[in-house]
């Protein structure tokens, strides 16, 4: 088996755990796995931002300063129940994700999908909703990176959102992102009224993408909205 990311043969140094666990669950080599830093310990109760290494002034009780600011807005208060993120968005993960979505290495979604499957077990939900791409962007990339995770996890996705074309989020500042008009449109494929929805995306940075999408769903009567993102 070769590592999904670096292509080296996976040679797992065998310990008690992998002696007794399944073979097919190992998709990354030890070297790459080591560079992925899982989000653990004390985190923000709303957005999973790790408190470790975060200055005191950005921690407000259970929440981080970012989330406090979101929740202070009447418009955004209570829209998102909570966001769960799995790994810290470090240089390595940035490189992995950029290879995945900008350079179209679809195979990496197998790893992400596997991880999604692991986390989703503990959640109760009715719909998994991938953050959509605009048609132009979808054409450029060939696949929706969020949808691919769900597909690879072997789960059903409900594409209840559409997206207008705009500048890439990653090219905008925080102010631009939060202040911008909502790019998401509700496409009435499934009825979300009174349902529990989990949004899926690859990265959570400022949270504005997730918040905008959640806003639309909330407006259409969703009971609760949480989100899973791979990196934070």
């Amino acid at each position: 088996m070769k590592c999904l990311y670096c292509g080296e043969m996976i040679i797992l140094a065998i310990g008690w755990t992998n002696l007794l666990s399944r073979e097919d669950e190992v998709l990354l080599c030890d070297q790459c796995t080591k560079q992925l830093v899982p989000i653990e310990g004390e985190v923000c109760a709303r957005c999973s931002r790790p408190f470790e290494g975060l200055a005191e002034e950005f921690q407000k009780g259970e929440l981080c300063y970012d989330c406090v600011r979101w929740e202070e807005h009447a418009e955004w208060n209570g829209v998102l129940e909570r966001n769960i993120s799995l790994y810290i968005y470090n240089d390595f993960l940035k490189e992995v994700i950029s290879r995945y979505k900008f350079r179209g290495d679809y195979e990496i979604s197998k790893f992400f999908g596997n991880e999604l499957k692991r986390v989703i077990k503990n959640l109760e939900y009715d719909f998994l909703v991938p953050i959509p791409l605009s048609e132009t962007r979808l054409y450029e990339r060939g696949f929706n990176q969020a949808e691919a995770l769900i597909v690879e996890a072997g789960l059903n996705h409900a594409n209840v959102l559409n997206r207008n074309h705009s500048k890439k989020q990653s090219k905008k500042t925080r102010k631009e992102r939060i202040g911008s008009d909502n790019v998401f449109i509700f496409s009435n494929i499934e009825q979300v009224l009174g349902k529990k929805v989990v949004l899926v995306d690859d990265v959570y940075t400022t949270g504005s993408t997730i918040m905008h999408a959640a806003r639309v769903l909330k407006d259409h009567g969703a009971y609760s909205i949480s989100s899973i993102t791979f990196a934070r």
Partner: protein, 772 residues
């Protein structure tokens, strides 16, 4: 294939275990387990194919070996040409060793030496490398005649030995040469050199650590090491091999030899090292692992992990000799090595607790094996390891290895080294004996069944697994619970039960009866057996004599989980009844020692009373009329009534009802004693009579049988004893009255197992002697 070999090794282990199993159900379940495991693991198709292939190959190979493991001899042959590949042992006047006949079959050779001159002649080279014409007779090796005793017959069978050759005459010995023999002779000479230059303390430890030769270590010191669970330190370990290799490599590189060339030198040296070190399985394992590691470094870029190397060595080793699976040294060496290597990834990350963790892991991984073979484990052993491992690895081993090189270069050690080493080792030995003398440090679990062993292994693997994955300290600690529970359960099984047992232990010519009664399993031992020695001269005295107490009674009791004897009853002072008492008092806790109330005591009896007092055992002298009660049974002392001239007639005689039957334990009571007893107790209900004095014709009179009317008679007697016991007259008397006879020489140990007043007799039948 990298990091896959552990699975292949496990597959080969499973195949071998299956091959050695006799029950089809177990075979099938092992195979099903393999299938389940493969399904669960989701290996690639290629790996599954390889695993099945390995299982098939190993299973077939082992079955072929098992089927071929039989003798080519009929048993009637008398002429042999035997070659000795290893040195023989000289123990007192007995020579014993292994030799290979021209047919290729290995034989156990035994010879009683005639004179001191002959002994010193044989002692020179101990026949190493010689082949001789032998005249003698083949004798079957006796099977195990007592539960929990060492099974010498199987032990030999696992080495493809089926006969012992009792030699009458030697002729035409000639010496052979060969590369392996040269190394073995060098080893022999080096050990002799050590013995002649050094005081015994240094020489014995040096020969153990440098040449893997433990023969000359003081047996009581060895026992102390064993008791503390640090006996492994007296063996050559993988760390020693690594130390040798790195020293030689360093010296070579310093002298300007290229690294590659040094690897070649080491590759050539390692096989020599194996034979210099006595070629025991642990040394073989360590040296072969090192060999493969260096070899791979030499020929290829890619390296295999140590776990892979260990697995490959395991497979190679077991493929060629599947029977090694039964070797304790092999079992311990591989289980500890595998466990440590599997732990390097998670559990043994560098930290200040590394040593503690590593010894804990070693202890745990050897626990099932230790329990299976020795029925007990030491509570002090973790601590003892933490003290002794540094002493050995920092001081003793490096010093000895330096010594080895000095010996190698100068041919003799430098004299200034002798005194400090003697001081160091003597004080360390004192510490060891002192530590081992602490009471309550050994937990005697008793012989665990195979199921308990299996569960123990599972709980230990579970513990390692959880320890590695557990996120919190608390979860890691909880994972030890299944193991503790299993141990407690196993302890409970052997210490508490509603059934009781009376066993007449086969101690050869002598008596020893073990009674276990009541829910709390009170343990009474009547007599301990004893080995009578007839050796007259100094040279005939064996260095490690066979001793019934130590070699039969104590293992029997430990196998039953006994660590405390409530009453040790010594009926009278003869060797064949109390000879084993010393070992019993020294290895186990004895609450009460009971002896006959007489003035005429043997010297041995007095020594034992002295020892018992030192061990804080209550000593009680009993006579007719005394009694005690236990669990509804009343133990009545009916003799000695008055002191008589013959010590045998003063034997403690006990009458008791246990398990629904009335028993009379008579010791060595003779005719006069019996008359006296009959006068005092003309009628006594006796269902089972322990025949007095091993069936001597001066005991068990017709009057006694007539008066007490026993239904069952038990004779405790040794095979082909020099007294001709049991006497035909006694047997006839018993047969006339249709009394059922059990005898330990024919039936092995005889047990009566009972519950709620009903019980059954069973014999621990020795193997069919004509067809071993």
């Amino acid at each position: 294939m990298q990091e896959r070999w552990i699975y292949f090794a496990l597959a080969s282990l499973l195949a071998l275990v299956t091959a050695f199993q006799t029950q089809v159900v177990v075979k099938v379940s092992l195979f099903l387990f393999l299938i389940l495991f493969l399904c669960y693991k989701r290996f690639s198709k290629r790996n599954i194919f390889i695993i099945f292939l390995i299982v098939l190959v190993f299973y077939t190979k082992a079955r072929i070996d098992i089927n071929r493991n039989e003798s080519v001899f009929q048993g009637s042959e008398t002429q042999f040409v035997v070659s000795f590949q290893d040195e023989v042992k000289l123990n007192g006047s007995l020579l014993s060793g292994y030799g290979k006949d021209t047919t290729g079959e290995r034989l156990l050779i035994k010879y009683r030496m005639k004179s001191e001159k002959e002994k010193s002649r044989l002692n020179e080279e101990r026949l190493l490398g010689y082949s001789c014409q032998l005249t003698g007779s083949l004798k079957a090796v006796n099977g195990q005649t007592n539960p929990n005793a060492f099974d010498y017959q199987s032990y030999l069978n696992h080495q493809h030995i089926h006969w012992q050759l009792v030699v009458d005459r030697w002729s035409d010995c000639e010496e052979h040469k060969g590369p392996i023999l040269i190394v073995k002779k060098q080893r022999q000479r080096a050990i002799e050199l050590l013995e002649s230059y050094f005081p015994e303390s240094v020489a014995s430890l040096a020969s153990a650590l440098l040449f893997g030769e433990r023969q000359i270590i003081d047996p009581s010191l060895e026992k102390a090491y064993q008791k503390l669970g640090i006996i492994h330190l007296l063996a050559i370990s993988g760390a020693n091999v690594a130390l040798y290799v790195s020293i030689i490599h360093y010296i070579g590189v310093r002298l300007g030899v290229t690294r590659e060339r040094m690897i070649v030198v080491l590759l050539l040296y390692l096989p020599v090292f194996v034979y210099l070190s006595g070629a025991s399985p642990p040394v073989f394992r360590a040296a072969m692992m090192m060999f493969l590691f260096l070899f791979l470094r030499l020929v290829s870029q890619s390296t295999l992990s140590r776990l892979d190397i260990c697995s490959i060595i395991f497979m190679v080793y077991t493929f060629f000799s599947p029977y090694l699976l039964f070797d304790v040294g092999f079992q311990l060496s591989f289980s500890v090595t595998f466990s440590l290597l599997l732990s390097t990834k998670g559990l043994l990350k560098p930290s200040k607790f590394l040593l503690i963790k590593a010894s804990f892991i070693s202890q745990l991984s050897s626990l099932p094996i230790v329990l299976y073979h020795f029925y007990e484990f030491s509570l002090l052993s973790l601590l003892a390891n933490l003290v002794y491992i540094p002493i050995f690895s920092i001081i003793i081993n490096p010093v000895f290895i330096t010594l080895f090189f000095l010996l190698f270069i100068f041919g003799k050690p430098i004299s200034f080294m002798i005194k400090p080493m003697d001081f160091l080792i003597t004080s360390m030995n004192q510490l060891t004996v002192w530590l081992a003398s602490f009471p309550f440090q050994t937990v005697t679990i008793g012989r665990p069944s195979q199921w308990i062993i299996l569960v123990l292994i599972c709980t230990i693997i579970y513990l390692f697994y959880k320890w590695e994955t557990g996120k919190t300290r608390k979860r890691q600690l909880i994972s030890i619970l299944p193991l503790l529970f299993t141990l407690a359960f196993s302890y409970y099984l052997s210490h508490y039960s509603f059934s009781g047992q009376i066993t007449f232990v086969d101690v050869g010519q002598g008596d020893s009866i073990v009674i276990q009664n009541g829910f709390h399993k009170k343990t009474y031992v009547i007599d301990t057996g004893g080995t009578v020695s007839f050796h007259e001269e100094e040279w005939e005295k064996p260095r490690n004599p066979f001793e019934v107490g130590n070699d039969i009674l104590v293992p029997f009791l430990k196998g039953k989980g006994v660590s405390t004897i409530d009453k040790l009853i010594l009926t009278h002072g003869d060797m064949d009844h109390i000879g084993g008492a010393r070992s019993v008092l020294e290895t186990m806790r004895v609450e009460e020692l009971i002896l006959p109330y007489v003035t005429n005591r043997s010297n041995l009896e007095n020594e034992i009373i002295q020892l018992a007092k030192e061990k804080k055992t209550t000593v009680i002298f009993v006579k007719d009329g005394m009694s005690w009660k236990e669990n509804g049974s009343s133990f009545k002392i009916v003799n000695p009534i008055i002191e008589q001239d013959d010590r045998n007639d003063n034997s403690v005689v006990i009458h008791v009802k246990i398990g629904g039957l009335f028993w009379l334990f008579t010791g060595d009571l003779g005719e006069e004693g019996e008359e006296r007893l009959l006068r005092e107790y003309p009628t006594l209900r006796v269902d089972v009579l322990k025949i007095g004095h091993h069936g001597s014709k001066s005991s068990t009179s017709a009057t006694l049988l007539q008066a007490y009317q026993p239904k069952v008679a038990v004779i405790s007697v040794g095979e082909t004893n020099r007294f001709g016991h049991p006497h035909q007259e006694v047997l006839d008397r018993l047969k006339e009255r249709n009394i059922k006879i059990f005898r330990t020489d024919k039936d092995g140990a005889i047990s009566y197992t009972f519950q709620n007043g009903i019980g059954t007799f069973s014999k621990h039948i020795p193997y069919d002697v004509t067809n071993p």
